[in-house]
């Protein structure tokens, strides 16, 4: 990997390796080198354009959750020849992690609850010259707050108040506050990425019959809020409940990667967004007309037990941040007080 410290064998090794070094080996100061100057980090909860506070934020998280572990489940990546510089190759990585932690000290989540947390994170990072230079991240915030004993909507209402009320609170990511970064590519054109992107596009076009056609009957599903399940019905219910809440929102495929690697199933990573009105009944209660922006990241693994002996989605991991959606709804309706 030209442009990266020699010890890193490949992209997954670099991504898993630096994650471990920063969080668990406590080399938090190495973020000064590992995060490029001016790095923009977009998460559903916020768009952070000034990254100078990242070390302070990392310290705050570790003060609240000192035993936090980040278990790297997968890195689905692609080459980015257009992003290469004279000194470095460039890559794009979609990293799926399980995070475990005990809520043992006071912090941004309030008084410690002692809750043992287990939740997923999906992080899309553009990398070159040994550093991350553009980022999109979805954390399963609803799983965190549920495991602490709160309902996501109630917790979000309290969060708005903690942040100083509707006028002062941190604004969730939206088209209006998104900032274009240096990475403008859309991934690769590998077949498994295309198949999964097409599946999501058809789901969003209400062609729900695509689920029994392209998912394994015994598909293992991991969804927001720490929910998990098996089979076509659960997939149908999740995607139906999401789309039904925002039936007229514009669906965009923002980034698509497909891969086949030795030792692993064929797999795909897709980042997408929904932008529009909360105008239907579904996962988010009665329609409010609030304008909502949703960033989602999904990973899929394919297996051989599909229709007529074809390939089918055998595992799906879909994440959105439901607290960021509730925040947009509460702020728009004035129901935050």
């Amino acid at each position: 990997m030209k442009g990266f410290v020699e010890k890193w064998r490949n992209v997954p090794h670099f991504i898993n390796g630096i994650t471990h070094e920063i969080w668990e080996d406590r080399k938090i100061g190495s973020l000064r080198q590992l995060y490029a100057p001016g790095l923009i980090v977009r998460s559903p909860a916020s768009v952070v354009v000034d990254n100078s506070g990242v070390i302070a934020a990392t310290l705050a998280t570790l003060a609240e959750f000192p035993d936090r572990l980040l278990l790297g489940e997968d890195v689905i990546w692609c080459d980015d020849p257009q992003g290469a510089t004279e000194t470095s190759e460039a890559f794009f990585s979609s990293h799926r992690l399980i995070c475990t932690a005990t809520h043992s000290h006071p912090g941004a989540y309030g008084a410690p609850t002692g809750a043992k947390l287990r939740y997923r994170i999906l992080a899309d990072c553009a990398i070159r010259d040994g550093a991350i230079y553009d980022e999109w991240l979805v954390r399963d915030q609803a799983a965190i707050v549920r495991q602490m004993g709160y309902e996501p909507k109630d917790w979000t209402r309290a969060q708005i108040e903690r942040e100083g009320g509707a006028g002062a609170c941190v604004q969730p990511m939206a088209c209006a506050n998104d900032v274009p970064g240096p990475y403008t590519r859309r991934g690769n054109t590998h077949k498994w990425g295309e198949i999964y992107a097409d599946t999501l596009k058809r789901i969003m076009a209400a062609e729900m019959d695509v689920i029994p056609q392209t998912y394994d009957r015994a598909v293992n599903l991991s969804y927001p809020g720490g929910e998990s399940g098996f089979g076509w019905n659960i997939a149908d219910q999740f995607w139906m409940g999401l789309r039904a809440s925002f039936p007229a929102a514009e669906f965009t495929l923002d980034h698509v990667i497909g891969r086949e690697d030795p030792l692993l199933s064929p797999r795909a990573a897709v980042r997408w967004s929904l932008n529009g009105s909360h105008s239907g009944w579904g996962r988010f209660g009665p329609p409010t007309g609030a304008h909502v922006y949703i960033m989602g990241i999904c990973h899929a693994e394919f297996g051989p037990y599909g229709h007529e002996g074809g390939a089918a989605i055998r595992r799906e991991f879909a994440l959105i941040d439901e607290t960021a959606i509730w925040k947009q709804i509460l702020l728009a309706t004035g129901d935050h007080a």
């Binding site: 997954p12 898993n16 572990l69 278990l71 790297g72 489940e73 997968d74 992690l97 399980i98 475990t100 287990r118 009957r217 015994a218 293992n220 399940g229 098996f230 089979g231 690697d261 030792l263 692993l264 199933s265 064929p266 394919f302 297996g303 051989p304 037990y305 002996g309 390939a311």
Partner: protein
């Protein structure tokens, strides 16, 4: 596939299709064709003989859980059409308890558990079988403690004298299948891991498992990373620290479109002489039938699935204690 109906493309296709045909398409009578008349089936709860018993058992289960679904997760297989196949089939099974049956009056509760069936198949027919259902998982999800449920079984079956005896090798029968699997490296790796665990070399988990491993175990319990499988295996072994560990069958496979994987059927036979999963030691002679499936990734063993039947173990303990 010589000897098999030409509607089946390969062994996984055969296994997945006949499972659906029998259970969900209600083709109970097709068992006359798909199951040999005198097939031995070894459940941890006891030895069964013959396809008529399978048909009656299937009917009773469907009467109790009419919406029961069987979702085939994987088929890890060995052998060929000439000498016979062995299929290790991992399933997810779900159902709603709406009828009278083995779990008593309907509770209206739903369950989702795994089962693994090792079936010998030749000439379009299953003629030898070992089947582990996560009965402890069903019991818990329907609101029973597995130990209490085993006691209830003994009472319902007419008390300790008359209760059906859980499976023990001393009353096993020799069926038509005598294979031991294949010699693929991934089956051997899984067999080595299990052997080291049973030799109490628990460092094997940190050495061989991916740090982000997902483990799915008996009791419908699962966990991430190393500590979950370590604790589970320690508690199991420490309940039966002197029991004899045996590997009966091992399969490894490298197939395109799936990770490399292994399937091993194993057992522990011996005394309940330690603390662990099953309360204070009782000295009961116990046979534990286990099947483990595993998938590997770039960072080691990435997914482990193991089933034992806790209720059948509790039953052996209660029958000993009286």
């Amino acid at each position: 596939m010589k000897g098999f109906s030409n509607q089946f493309k390969n062994l996984p296709d055969y296994i997945l299709k006949i499972t659906k045909e029998i259970w969900e398409d209600r083709g109970l009578s097709t068992l006359h064709h798909y199951y040999a008349p005198d097939i031995p089936i070894r459940f941890p709860s006891g030895l069964a003989r013959g396809n008529q018993g399978v048909i009656d058992g299937t009917l009773a289960t469907l009467a109790e859980f009419p919406d029961r679904q069987l979702l085939g997760e994987d088929v890890i297989w060995s052998g060929d059409a000439e000498t016979g196949f062995m299929s290790s089939h991992r399933l997810l099974t779900t159902g709603t308890h709406t009828g009278q049956g083995a779990f008593g009056a309907p509770t209206g509760k739903r369950f989702t558990i795994r089962a693994i069936a090792d079936c010998a198949a030749i000439n379009d027919q299953i003629n030898d079988e070992w089947l582990i259902r996560d009965v402890g998982g069903i019991a818990r999800q329907l609101g029973f403690d597995p130990s209490d449920y085993a006691r209830l079984q003994i009472t319902r079956e007419g008390g300790p004298e008359n209760a059906i005896r859980p499976f023990h090798p001393s009353h096993d029968v020799q069926g038509p299948y005598t294979g031991r699997g294949n010699d693929n490296e991934w089956g051997q790796r899984l067999a080595d891991i299990l052997t080291r665990i049973m030799e109490k070399d628990f460092s094997v988990i940190r050495a061989e498992y991916d740090r982000a491993v997902r483990t799915e175990h008996w009791g419908a319990e699962g966990g991430w990373s190393w500590d979950f499988p370590e604790t589970q295996w320690m508690r199991l072994r420490s309940s039966f620290p002197t029991a004899k560990f045996e590997i009966h069958h091992q399969i490894g496979r490298n197939d395109s479109g799936t990770p490399n994987r292994g399937a091993v059927r194993w057992s522990l036979t011996g005394e309940h002489s330690g603390n662990g999963y099953f309360g204070s030691p009782t000295g009961a002679e116990v046979h534990v039938m286990g099947i483990t499936h595993a998938e590997w990734g770039e960072w080691g063993l990435r997914r482990e699935f193991t089933l034992i039947d806790e209720v059948a173990i509790w039953k052996q303990i209660h029958l000993h204690v009286g």
